[in-house]
């Protein structure tokens, strides 16, 4: 094994980590906001909102992320209306297109996780809180959200890891994050195995850090159990 080459590759690949983290962090944060909105639409009891959110989730979970990225990056430019609009300075850049696609995609998956978290709160508790005279918004803030979050956390942690993994697709539209750099080195040197080992190690390390962080948070949010309870949210689904 050629350790000089391995070390050299690792250093080059590490240069892509900041971009990877940016893509993941922004899309997860923005996706969470959109997901919360979608989940509330599903639970609003309004047939129109419910159908809209359902349709959104169906479309974004039923198509590959790569198609969504291409649709935004290449597809939107087909329309002169968009090319002349205020959004074009953003939509012509692969960076913002990747951000947008990742955000829209993770929102669809996360909204289902948030929804199942909210639904997991026993109705008796909400009834009791109402009986104590809490207003609906107070019940939501004090009873539903804290408990729902705790239940949704394991599945949500899984989604964060999947998103980190999915940022690799941004390399297809020329963004030089870790996978982009890796594919460039592979096509220059044809040493796929060594490059794969280095890039794989970086991703595994990041995932490990995230899953430790989530486990820590789980423990903090459930002091009464001592250790984390079994996950009960819906089974995860990747893209």
């Amino acid at each position: 094994m050629d350790f000089d080459f391995l070390g050299d590759t690792l250093v080059k690949l590490l240069g892509g980590v900041p971009l990877l983290l940016q893509l993941a962090a922004f899309s997860i944060a923005a996706g969470a906001l959109l997901a919360a909105l979608l989940a509330l639409m599903r639970l609003s009891g309004n047939a129109l909102f419910d159908a809209a959110a359902r349709g959104y989730v169906f479309v974004f979970r039923g198509t590959p992320l790569l198609v969504q990225i291409f649709l935004i990056y290449y597809g939107l430019g087909q329309f002169p209306e968009i090319r002349e609009s205020f959004a074009w300075p953003f939509l012509r850049q692969p960076y913002w297109c990747a951000m947008l696609a990742l955000t829209l995609n993770t929102a669809a998956y996360s909204s289902e996780i948030i929804r199942s978290g909210i639904l997991s709160v026993p109705f008796g508790q909400i009834e009791a809180a109402r009986a104590c005279g809490m207003s609906r918004s107070l019940v939501f803030r004090r009873i539903t959200v804290p408990q729902g979050l705790r239940v949704a956390l394991p599945a949500y942690g899984n989604e964060i890891i999947l998103m980190t993994r999915a940022t690799a697709l941004a390399s297809v539209i020329t963004l030089m994050e870790v996978t982009g750099i890796a594919s460039k080195i592979i096509s220059e040197t044809f040493r796929a195995v060594e490059v794969f080992i280095c890039a794989g190690a970086i991703y595994l390390l990041i995932n490990f850090a995230i899953s430790r962080g989530i486990a820590l948070l789980e423990r903090r949010l459930s002091p009464q159990f001592g250790s984390a309870p079994a996950p009960t949210a819906i089974p995860k689904l990747a893209r």
Partner: protein, 236 residues
């Protein structure tokens, strides 16, 4: 040219090519999923029954393949495979670059990733079999192999259907990534069409619709299969 002319089956339409590409997506996903079932069953067996080293190896397999990007695995198999083939070719006296088949390397890449997910499904489904049934089978004198064939396999499969449905959808969507190494499936065909007609939105939205159609049809199929598998189970 209108959208429907463009996507139609006329002399200038792309309908037939897109239909063929859809067939390719289904074919490569099916091969990958089948491969994943074989890998998944082996890994699940290693995690349930294997020795300590086997268990550790199987666990590492699932952790690694679920943690690294699928695109990297596809690159590894395509370029790694091609490099190996080229080296073999040179040893045999051939000149230049020898590429591996995009279909085979892509199907294997998606298959080994799918295998990591399927092993978890199989393991969970095996865990759902009532222990009493296994004990009863032992008590009536079934050998290990007979017990496996008559009790374990049918029951595991039944409990695994919903999870397998999810993993199938995953393989279907991951197959789109094989377009990066040049396999002419839906996404690749859409890219070609977008490039030569300068109507990228029309082609990529059609590709999205085709994927939605495939995932809806197979979702419906898995629902039917689940109902069939659970027909003998009483539920509240």
């Amino acid at each position: 040219m209108s959208y429907f002319e463009l996507m139609g089956f006329g002399p200038k339409g792309w309908g037939l090519l897109l239909l063929k590409a859809t067939g390719m997506t289904v074919a490569v996903s099916c091969v990958a999923f089948g491969l994943g079932s074989a890998v998944g069953a082996l890994i699940a067996w290693a995690r349930i029954q294997g020795s300590r080293t086997l268990k550790l190896g199987a666990e590492a397999y699932t952790t690694v393949l679920r943690g690294i990007p699928d695109l990297l695995v596809i690159y590894l198999l395509y370029f790694g495979g091609s490099a190996a083939m080229t080296a073999v070719g040179h040893a045999l006296g051939a000149e230049g670059f020898v590429g591996v088949n995009a279909f085979a390397s892509g199907a294997i890449a998606v298959g080994i990733i799918s295998g990591a997910y399927q092993s978890e499904i199989f393991r969970g489904a095996f865990g759902a079999i009532a222990r009493g049934e296994l004990e009863a089978a032992r008590a009536v004198g079934m050998s290990g192999r007979l017990l496996f064939r008559r009790i374990v396999v049918p029951q595991t499969l039944r409990f695994a259907i919903p999870g397998l449905g999810n993993v199938w959808q995953l393989a279907l969507k991951e197959s789109a990534l094989i377009s990066v190494v040049g396999l002419t499936e839906i996404l690749r065909q859409a890219q070609v069409g977008a490039g030569s007609t300068r109507q990228p939105f029309a082609f990529f939205i059609t590709a999205a619709a085709l994927y939605l159609m495939l995932s809806s049809i197979s979702g419906w199929g898995f629902q039917k299969a689940e109902a069939l598998g659970m027909r003998g189970v009483r539920r509240s």
